[in-house]
Structure formats: C-alpha cells, structure tokens
C-alpha cells in the first residue's frame, strides 16, 4: 500500500490559508442564501436552505479531505454521523478512513527513536520501514520481535497535540464566519477535540487494550491484541498482530446467510456484554477497527476512544429495558429524573422527542412479547433510520449523562454493521441470556 502526500496540506501556513479560504467560501454561500431568503416562498426557502447546507457541508468535507491529521479525524467522525450529513458527502468522507499521508521511513524512524530512545532495528528483529496502514494520528508498521512474535507498531506523527489545538482554533474561526456553526454545533466540535486530544496518549490506549482484553476474555469469539509495554510509550504503541478483514472485504467473499447471522449474533452479544457486564465500551465503530475472520471470530483493535459507564447510567439502561415504567406515572417520573437528573418538567421538547425515538428504536430492536416477533431483520431500513435520528437528536438534547452521545454512536455503529450483514436475529433471546448472567437483574 502506498501513501501519497500529493494532496496533503501538512504545513501550518497552507493549512491556515486553506481554512481561511474555506471560511470565505462558507460566508459567501451563507450571504447568498440570506439575500435570497426574503423573496422565497416557505417551501422554496426550505429547499434553498437544504441546498445551502449541502453545499457548505460539501465544501467543509472537501477541505478536510485534503488536510492531514486532526481535521481528517474530524472528517472520519462526521462520516459516522450519516443523517447529519448528506449521503454523497458521507461517501466522500468514508474514503478518508484509509488515506492518511504517511511519514517517510526516515521521519518514522526518527520519531520512534525520539520516543523510545533506540532505533526500531535495535528493538525488533525485523521492522518494515513502510507503513501498512495509516491513521490520522499515526501510522502502523509491521515488525517481528526478537522472540519471533509478529507485532504492529503504531507511531504517532510528531507534535500532534499542538497541531490539534491549532487546527481546531482555525476551524472554529472558520465556522464563525458563517452561520454554518449552527449546523455543526460548537459543543460537538469541542467534544471531538477533547476526544482526539486524549487519543494522542498511547499509554492511555495501552491501558484500555489491557482492560478490554481481560474483561472480554469470556467471549471466546473476540480477539484483542496484547500490549508490549516494554516497546510502548505515550507516542509509540506495540501490539500483537490481529488478523482479519474489514466487513466490506468479508461481504465480497459472499458468506452464507447462516454465517452472516452468526456474525451478527456475535456483534450484538459483544455490544450488550460491554454495556451490561464490562460497563465500558469501544466507542469507535470505524470500519477498520473490526476485523472479521472466516472462522467467525472478531478482532477488535484501536482502543483510543473508549467510554466507561457510570453506575447511574447503567441503572438508567437497566430501568429502561424493564418497559414497565412506561405505564406507571410514578416510575415514568423516576425514569425522566434518571435521564435528565433534574425536575422532569424542565426537560426540553428536544429531549422528550429523543426519548420517544429511543423507545421506538428499542421496540424495533427488541420487540415486545405482544408483537409476536421472534426474529428481527436488520435489513429493515427503519432500525437504522431510527438510530440515525436518535444520534442527531441526542446531540441537541441536554442530558444528565455525558455517556449518551458515545453510547448512541456505538449503537449506531452496531446497527450499521448488522444492516450490512443483513442479519436476522433473535435479539430478545440474546438480551435475556446476557441479563440472566447478571446477579442483580
């Protein structure tokens, strides 16, 4: 795999000027729309507004597609938010996921030494100077330890934290020039920035990998890499190699319906086990992070974005699953308090709308007994649509639990995989088997 640097805007000067021009273009688009607005009929106005938003989003996406580093990461995150962005833009952004420009071998080597104090060839029996995969914050090289173990060495681009802060400052300034920021809320940008900044500490990721490797051990179908602490720092992480292919590559092999259903079952089990047993979940359902094998096992990699769930949030989920609260006004009040943390009367209409969507989605995924449905087909677009709507709504609702946006992102990632697999599952059976294993349920 080769990595072209042809279109990357890697110098701060060019990145700044590119964002500056983007700001001017967005402002011009916005002004153009505002000038036309008073003269348009309401339906035409809505159409024009949609056109303006699509054009602005496209400009933003095209720009960040050409930016190396953190803004590319922002693009990746936005590409997961299907309904927030138009379909053609998501298709453009999905290309970003494997096209980060690479460090040349001399820089990667220098970076490795600056972090570990020795050159790769002094630490490994074999080290491939060319990366086999690129990520926005780093790139991955294959290596073999002196003990003969195949490993993956992820090396971070130098000075990423500074670049992230500069890029986000520039991006905020850019979005201020137009009202585009209302389309992409500043809180969302802030949340993404702090998330990406945390991802620059690979030792944090190492701790996450070790935690999940231990906690997910009861699920025999899950493969988690092992951390080589002696060859890892905050900027370089060495992990055992995990084999497998992306879901798209697996689907090209035309797997049988039974196999797809089996994989779907494993994915749902994995998600529910993380929520109900581990109380922490892998929050980056990026297609490159799930590696599927012909034996039905699933390799889980990249633990840079992980969310630990508070006891309160776990209690909320468990109460939500019981369904009985929907009929009992006292329990309903309690549920609303669990969600918003304050007087339920203060809940905003957006938040109540979100709750309704969540109930509807839950009933589609885990049908109530009276519906008489044993198996749920994830090929049904309704489930994914509701997931998308929920994702959009939860970003606008002020909830007591900060975990919710991450939870909905992981949940949406799950439904996206299940939809692609066209899996048909007995979801209630899976849920009950996981809940039955819990002592307090």
């Amino acid at each position: 795999m080769s990595f072209s640097t042809k279109h990357s805007n890697s110098s701060p000067l060019s990145r700044g000027s590119t964002l500056g021009r983007l700001g001017i273009q967005l402002a011009a688009d916005y002004l153009g729309f505002q000038v036309q607005r008073p003269f348009l009929r309401s339906e035409k106005r809505e159409l024009k507004q949609q056109q303006y938003q699509r054009r602005s989003t496209r400009r933003l996406c095209q720009t960040i597609q050409h930016m190396k580093g953190p803004l590319m990461k922002l693009g990746q995150i936005l590409s997961m938010q299907d309904n927030v962005l138009p379909r053609e833009v998501i298709e453009e952004l999905s290309v970003l996921q494997m096209q980060a420009p690479a460090m040349h071998p001399t820089l990667a080597r220098a970076r490795f030494k600056a972090s570990l104090g020795k050159y790769p060839e002094e630490i490994f029996k074999q080290f491939e100077p060319e990366p086999f995969a690129a990520a926005s914050l780093g790139q991955a090289h294959r290596a073999t330890t002196f003990a003969g173990d195949p490993v993956v060495v992820k090396i971070q681009y130098p000075a990423m934290a500074v670049t992230i802060q500069t890029d986000f400052k520039l991006l905020r300034a850019t979005l201020k020039t137009s009202c585009f920021s209302s389309y992409l809320p500043t809180e969302v940008i802030g949340e993404i920035e702090s998330g990406i900044l945390k991802e620059t500490d690979y030792l944090r990721e190492a701790a996450n990998v070790e935690f999940f490797r231990q906690q997910l051990a009861p699920l025999s179908f899950v493969r988690i890499p092992r951390v080589y602490r002696e060859f890892s720092t905050d900027k370089v992480i060495t992990l055992s190699s995990v084999s497998g292919m992306s879901l798209a590559a697996l689907l090209k092999t035309k797997p049988s319906i039974a196999f797809r259903n089996q994989l779907g079952l494993c994915l749902l089990q994995l998600f529910l086990f993380q929520i109900h047993e581990v109380h922490a979940f892998h929050a980056d359902p990026h297609p490159g992070n799930y590696l599927f094998s012909a034996d039905g096992s699933i390799g889980l990699i990249d633990f840079g974005c992980v969310k630990h769930i508070t006891r309160d949030f776990t209690r909320l989920i468990q109460a939500f699953l019981a369904r009985t609260w929907r009929q009992d006004p006292a329990e309903m009040k309690h549920m609303l308090r669990l969600i918003w943390g304050t007087d339920p009367r203060q809940a905003s209409p957006e938040a109540l709308r979100m709750l309704r969507t969540e109930i509807e989605l839950f009933d589609w995924v885990f049908p109530p007994a009276e519906a008489g449905l044993n198996r749920v087909s994830f090929d049904n677009p309704k489930i994914f649509e509701l997931g998308l709507r929920l994702r959009k709504e939860c970003l606008g609702a002020k909830l007591a639990h900060k975990e919710f946006p991450f939870y909905s992102r992981a949940e949406l990632g799950l439904y996206s995989y299940l939809r692609q697999l066209k899996a048909t599952l007995d979801t209630n059976h899976i849920l009950h088997s996981i809940r039955a294993a819990q002592p307090n349920m």
């Binding site: 890697s10 110098s11 040349h104 600056a114």
Partner: protein, 224 residues
C-alpha cells in the same frame, strides 16, 4: 645480478611525514575530546585552555600548536562534523533512492543527532557566531573553506535532483537557501523544549514537504 635494495625502502609502514600527520590528528582529537567534556561540565565560556590541556594530558604550549583559541577548537569540531555528515550521506543505502524531501530531512536530522550530546556547546558557538568579529561567524575568513565544502555538498545534491527533473534549476541560490534553512532548524532545535524535540521533527518535515512542493510547482501554488 641481484638488485640490492636498501632496508629503508623495504619498510611498508607509513613514512615519517605520514606518522607525524597521524600523531597530529590523534592529538587534535584528544584535545577536542577533552574540550568537549569540559564544555559539557563548565560551559564553553568558563572552560580555560589550561584545563583543556591538562585533561588532554598535554602541555598548554603544545595545545597552542594545534589550536590558538577555543574558537579554533570549535571550528575544528564543526569541520569534523561536516566531514562525518558527508561521509554518512554518501554511504550507499536505501536513503540514496529516497525522494528529495526525505534525503534533505535525513541530512538535517542526522546532523542534529550528531551534535545532540553537545547541545550547550553548540548553543554557545551559535551565540559567538553572531559576533561579526568572531572566527565562528559564517562570514569570517576562517569559515570560508568550511562553508565552501558544505555548499558544494548541497549544490551537488540539488543539481542531481535538478538533472532528474525533481526540481527546477535553482543554481547556487538553492544551496544558499538550504544552508539558511539548516541554520534556522538548528536554532529552532536549540530552543525546542518539547519531549524528544518532537516539534523540531514536525517543523523540519513540514517545511521540507511544503518547500519541495512549492519548488516543484515553480512557485505557482495550486491552492485547490
């Protein structure tokens, strides 16, 4: 009739002159080693020539036969580093086939690695070099030969890239431009307090990528 040969002519070892030159170089290196150790302990300005000669195991008068001042010592250090840098670069290996930005990156980075153990000393040398009357000043007569060798090395490297079409014809100004950039990077590196001097790595890479792209487009930057 057998040809008579004198025993002196059969001697295969270095001649007297060669041996003398070898001894001279050994002494020079012993003095530099002692000086660098002292500079690291006491700093360039506070280490005296008497202390240097004592540490090198030589009489102070002998030291003056080799280096008249500490600035001469610093010039010898710079010269030795340059010779080593050129020899390292010209050694056959995968770097020779790498794209130009990577090769230029490797040159500056290798130089920084070489001088890293003497960071304080280099800092003092750079401060001295700012004084026009100093032998260490880039414009001094004493540095002319050193500058010529460096510029000829860089010029040769850029000329090869120009011949391959990697760069537009830059001529002498190209080598001067890179020399200035190299100096600027050393100054940046000296002031870089980031862990593992990662900011220097980033700045070096980004500047070279940007400059090469700009030159390849002959200044006509395609902003799209």
């Amino acid at each position: 009739m057998p040809i008579k040969t004198s025993p002196r002519k059969r001697n295969v070892g270095p001649g007297k002159a060669g041996k003398r030159a070898q001894n001279k170089e050994t002494n020079r290196q012993a003095i530099l080693k002692a000086a660098l150790e002292l500079f690291r302990q006491k700093g360039f300005d506070h280490a005296s020539t008497r202390e240097i000669s004592r540490r090198a195991g030589l009489a102070e008068g002998t030291l003056f036969n080799y280096f008249r001042t500490k600035e001469d010592l610093a010039l010898y250090f710079l010269e030795r580093e340059l010779v080593e840098l050129i020899a390292w670069y010209e050694h056959p290996g995968p770097l020779q086939r790498a794209p130009l930005p990577e090769r230029l990156f490797a040159i500056v980075h290798h130089h920084l690695e070489q001088i890293a153990p003497y960071e304080d000393f280099i800092g003092a040398v750079y401060l001295r070099a700012l004084q026009p009357s100093s032998k260490l000043s880039p414009l001094s007569a004493e540095r002319r030969e050193l500058n010529r060798r460096y510029l000829s090395f860089i010029r040769g490297l850029l000329a090869a890239s120009e011949a391959k079409g990697e760069l537009p014809p830059l001529g002498e100004p190209g080598a001067y431009g890179f020399a200035l950039f190299h100096l600027a990077m050393i100054t940046y590196w000296l002031n870089d307090t980031s862990a593992g001097k990662e900011n220097t790595l980033a700045a070096l890479d980004r500047c070279l990528q940007f400059a090469t792209r700009l030159l390849q487009r002959q200044g006509q930057w395609d902003w799209q």
